[in-house]
């Protein structure tokens, strides 16, 4: 079956249908990672977006039962040059095409994905649509009348409806409260690995309700969309920041930016891939990181003791924040990897160290008070 991809600026790509038939609208973005399509498809931070993979042969190792980063496929649409119909990997249970069909995701294959990537690089990310039904002209007019990506609060769409606990075997060292703006499973898995039991809260949970349970620390999750729309979460973060140690990841970094006086701006074509170099300004060490963000924190407006701790070597944008006195830090990229390099997993250990230190400080002050 034929399918077309139309971009807001009038560019049309003709290809073959992938996954479900029908049509879908979203912001068209590209990711340069060469592996990890299943993790990308199920990452809630891609809500509202049609994702194009720059690597041309996708689906080679199929789809398996383990590599889900959330319960459902989160992308609005999927673009590949070639989709493998006979995957080969010991864990593969399904082809990419069957998986997308089952999950009712509209995709397109057989287009010149490099030409699309170059268009997005030059003209910036834009709205687009994939359709197996409409004519190009009709699709274009509907793109222009469809709501813009930046106007929608996707966080409310992807957050958990009810609080839940992530399973933990044995006795945890710490209890972490996670504010879910679109979390990936591997964050909870990574926390469990360093001895933290996680309770996941909906993004609308008031700070008081979280503090009532007296967690040892707070994790601010990644998530989709424009952080400027998340004033209600920023208010929660401000209240939590005064009381508890915090680690923020991706959107969590941006929320902390807002909570400490700054704002975010939209990047022309975002950072999405597994090869972004980030420099730790304290040690000078550079790490290859997994990234997925379309907005960056403005470093000039940070207030009240918050400072830039990491920068991206490609474009110099903010990749991490650290508070000078309070036990608060955040990174704009993905220490939980999945997909991408696991080099930054040390942040979870750093978080635990911070919680230990905090517990120690508290014990000491408790003794002196009695």
């Amino acid at each position: 079956m034929k399918a077309i991809l139309a971009l807001e600026d009038g560019t049309i790509f003709e290809g073959e249908s992938l996954g479900a038939s029908g049509e879908t609208f979203g912001e068209v973005v590209f990711n340069t990672g060469m592996t990890g399509y299943q993790e990308i498809l199920t990452d809630p931070s891609y809500a509202g977006q049609i994702v194009c993979l720059t690597y041309p042969m996708i689906g080679n190792y199929g789809v398996n039962a383990d590599d889900f980063e959330s319960r459902r496929v989160q992308v609005e649409g999927f673009i590949v040059r070639e989709a493998e119909s006979e995957p080969s990997n010991w864990r593969s249970g399904q082809t990419l095409n069957a998986f997308l069909k089952e999950r009712k995701i509209v995709g397109i294959r057989g287009i010149d994905t490099r030409a699309l990537t170059r268009a997005l690089r030059v003209r910036g990310v834009m709205m687009g649509a994939i359709s197996t039904e409409e004519s190009a002209a009709a699709l274009l007019s509907r793109i222009r009348s469809s709501p813009s990506y930046s106007g929608i609060d996707f966080v409310r769409k992807v957050t958990t409806e009810e609080p839940y606990e992530w399973s933990f075997e044995g006795e945890p060292e710490f209890h972490v409260a996670l504010l879910d703006c679109g979390v990936k499973f591997n964050i909870m898995r990574s926390l469990a690995k360093v001895g933290c039991k996680t309770t996941v809260y909906p993004c609308t949970t008031p700070a008081e309700a979280i503090l009532e349970r007296n967690p040892d620390g707070i994790m601010l999750s990644p998530g989709p969309g424009d952080p400027a729309l998340l004033g209600y979460v920023v208010e929660t973060v401000k209240k939590l920041a005064a009381k508890k140690p915090i680690m923020g990841v991706c959107l969590g970094n941006q929320l902390l930016g807002y909570a400490f006086g700054s704002r975010t701006f939209k990047l022309k074509f975002g950072h999405r891939g597994s090869n972004h170099p980030v420099k730790d300004l304290t040690t000078g060490r550079v790490y290859i990181t997994s990234q997925n963000h379309g907005f960056a924190v403005d470093p000039n407006e940070l207030k009240d003791g918050m400072e830039v701790a990491h920068i991206n070597l490609n474009d110099g944008t903010v990749e991490g924040l650290r508070h000078r006195e309070l036990p608060i830090f955040s990174i704009q990229y993905h220490p939980e990897a999945s997909p991408g390099p696991t080099d930054s997993a040390y942040f979870f250990r750093q978080f635990v160290e911070m919680l230990r230190k905090q517990r120690g400080d508290r014990d000491v002050s408790g003794e002196s008070a009695s």
Binding site: G36, T54, M57, W90, D112, L313, P339, P341
Partner: protein, 561 residues
């Protein structure tokens, strides 16, 4: 950190004569290194015994000595030139060996020459089997289980471990006689006891066999600040048991999920850090096709044949960056020479597929044994790039200049079914052609996989190429009819498009369709089925490229105009 302030003059050791396993790639690496050092203001003194190289051209180094690559001559050059540093990791094994000898003979100390790049101790640790195993055990990286056995009781103990199959090698026998592969306790006792009798030391080595496992390589870089990156990973078409220099290699890996890719990447970085390498390093790993289990097979603590391939495959100049690291620069202080906007501190992202095929000299030596084993026999190699595996493979085959224009070879055509199966089961230079012939005769992917243990992903793609041959044969007349209709929407025109897209040459299409090549070409032109050119830019189009190179493919957008 800026470069070492006390290094003004650097001596580079070239790779010497071209031999099997060490060919022009080291000239390429050495030339890049000399240029990189001069860019940083160093004077470069080059010693090489091979004058037929680019690096010995007058404009590459400041001083060139064409002398034998031995301690005596190298010492004389050092005495005369008094370099501040010696860079040995770019001239292949020859350079590395000579540097080791110069250090051991006290020459470097006597003339205050600093060994640049990787420390000598790391080189020893990577090359000495026992030291390397001990290091891997310390850092928790698995190496294949092995035992040194001297008695029947010890043999019986190995039987209990139950890791079949095992390779048995008697120590110190003439020509390695008496060894073999044991698949069970009975065979191990039989081969082992025979080996013990044959061995002059009454000793056999027993090692876990990884035949049939996936062979994966990573090219990694590290600077003195302990920042590490991987330039590229590669997957061997031939599973374990074939020397990587004799194997068809694909970049990047095709059958690894992100979990597997990252697991092996982390292992490679763990290894380069533990060895303290300053520069590039090649790590070879074996991965179980049915689990997450892997083993570290080998590490090359220097620029290798694989790094030359990885450099060309990704656009990342490994030798250039390694040379700059050797004089003290950090990865984030070196510019990405392709984009000129980003830094050498990143990992290339490919949006194409690279296929390397070894070139064996068997056509020149008719009687030679064409079987391929763990000792390298190839005298050269070709590399091709395209958007997908099939066209890259087809381009590579045509580049071999063995008279093949696709998956057909004269010798294979005439073989009986049994001979054909034998050619598939035992690695040899014509195996790929034998597999294609088997598909032509109707063999199933599963059968070929059982015989060859090659991953089905590769086999399926060969099968699709064979299927295209058949389709062209069947639709030959419909293609011929296009000449009259010139209907570019006809199914035959689509077939032509698809054949070009997966790498068929006009000559092949003509042959299978039973038509003149000139007709195919004129049809193609009439329908606008012409090659487009895309860039190798290290970043999958994320950034603009200043000095890219191009490859052809049948896609939509042409970037060369």
């Amino acid at each position: 950190m800026p470069r070492h302030p006390d290094i003004h003059k650097v001596m580079v050791i070239g790779s010497g004569p071209i031999i099997i396993g060490q060919a022009a790639e080291f000239d390429y690496a050495g030339t890049q290194a000399c240029k990189a050092l001069r860019e940083e203001g160093c004077k470069v003194v080059l010693i090489n015994s091979n004058p037929a190289t680019i690096m010995t051209d007058v404009e590459i180094a400041d001083r060139v000595y064409i002398e034998p690559l031995n301690v005596e001559f190298a010492t004389r050059v050092i005495a005369q030139e008094r370099p501040d540093g010696l860079l040995p990791t770019l001239g292949g094994q020859t350079g590395l060996n000579l540097a080791t000898q110069l250090a051991e003979s006290g020459t470097l100390e006597k003339y205050h020459v600093r060994l640049l790049g990787t420390p000598l101790q790391s080189i020893r640790m990577a090359e000495d089997r026992e030291e390397f195993r001990a290091l891997m055990n310390r850092i928790g990286e698995p190496v294949p289980e092995s035992w040194i056995v001297e008695t029947e009781e010890q043999l019986a103990e190995v039987c209990h471990v139950g890791l079949w199959p095992l390779i048995v090698r008697p120590a110190y026998t003439l020509g390695g006689t008496g060894g073999g592969v044991a698949r069970n306790a009975e065979e191990l006792m039989e081969i082992g006891m025979r080996g013990l009798k044959l061995s002059m030391r009454h000793q056999v080595m027993v090692e876990r066999s990884l035949l049939g496992w996936k062979e994966i390589e990573y090219e990694v870089m590290r600077d003195a600040n302990n920042t590490c990156i991987t330039v590229c990973n590669m997957e061997n078409f031939d599973p374990m048991g074939v020397h990587t220099g004799d194997s068809i290699v694909v970049a990047p890996s095709q059958t690894l999920s992100d979990k597997e890719y990252q697991m092996l990447r982390s292992a490679s970085l763990n290894i380069i850090r533990s060895l303290g390498i300053e520069g590039g390093c090649n790590v070879q790993l074996a991965l179980d096709p049915d689990s997450f289990q892997y083993y570290v097979i080998e590490v090359n603590p220097r620029v290798s044949r694989s790094s030359a391939l990885a450099s060309k495959a990704t656009g990342y100049p490994i030798a250039r960056v390694a040379a700059k690291i050797a004089i003290g620069l950090q990865l984030d202080e070196i510019e990405n020479a392709v984009t000129r906007k980003t830094l050498a501190c990143f990992e290339p992202s490919l949006d194409y597929c690279v296929v390397k095929i070894p070139r064996w000299p068997f056509d020149k030596f008719m009687v030679a044994d064409r079987r391929i084993t763990t000792q390298m026999k190839a005298t050269g190699e070709v590399m091709a790039i395209d958007r997908s595996f099939e066209p890259a493979l087809m381009k590579a085959i045509r580049s071999l200049e063995i008279g093949a224009y696709g998956l057909t070879a004269k010798n294979v055509h005439a073989l009986s079914d049994m001979q054909l199966e034998e050619k598939i089961a035992t690695p040899n230079d014509e195996r790929m052609f034998a597999i294609a012939e088997a598909f032509r005769r109707g063999m199933m992917v599963e059968e070929v996989q059982a015989l060859s243990q090659i991953d089905r992903w590769f086999l399926q793609r060969l099968q699709r190429l064979v299927a295209m041959e058949t389709r062209l044969k069947v639709h030959g007349r419909a293609i011929a009819a296009l000449a009259d209709t010139l209907d570019s929407d006809a199914p035959a025109a689509d077939l032509l498009r698809e054949a070009k897209r997966i790498g068929f040459s006009d000559r092949q299409i003509a042959e299978y369709a039973g038509l003149p090549e000139s007709l195919i070409r004129s049809l193609r032109r009439a329908f606008g089925i012409v090659p487009t050119y895309k860039m190798v830019d290290t970043c999958a189009a994320e950034f603009e490229a200043a000095t890219p190179y191009f490859y052809s493919c049948y896609d939509r957008e042409d970037e060369s105009i």
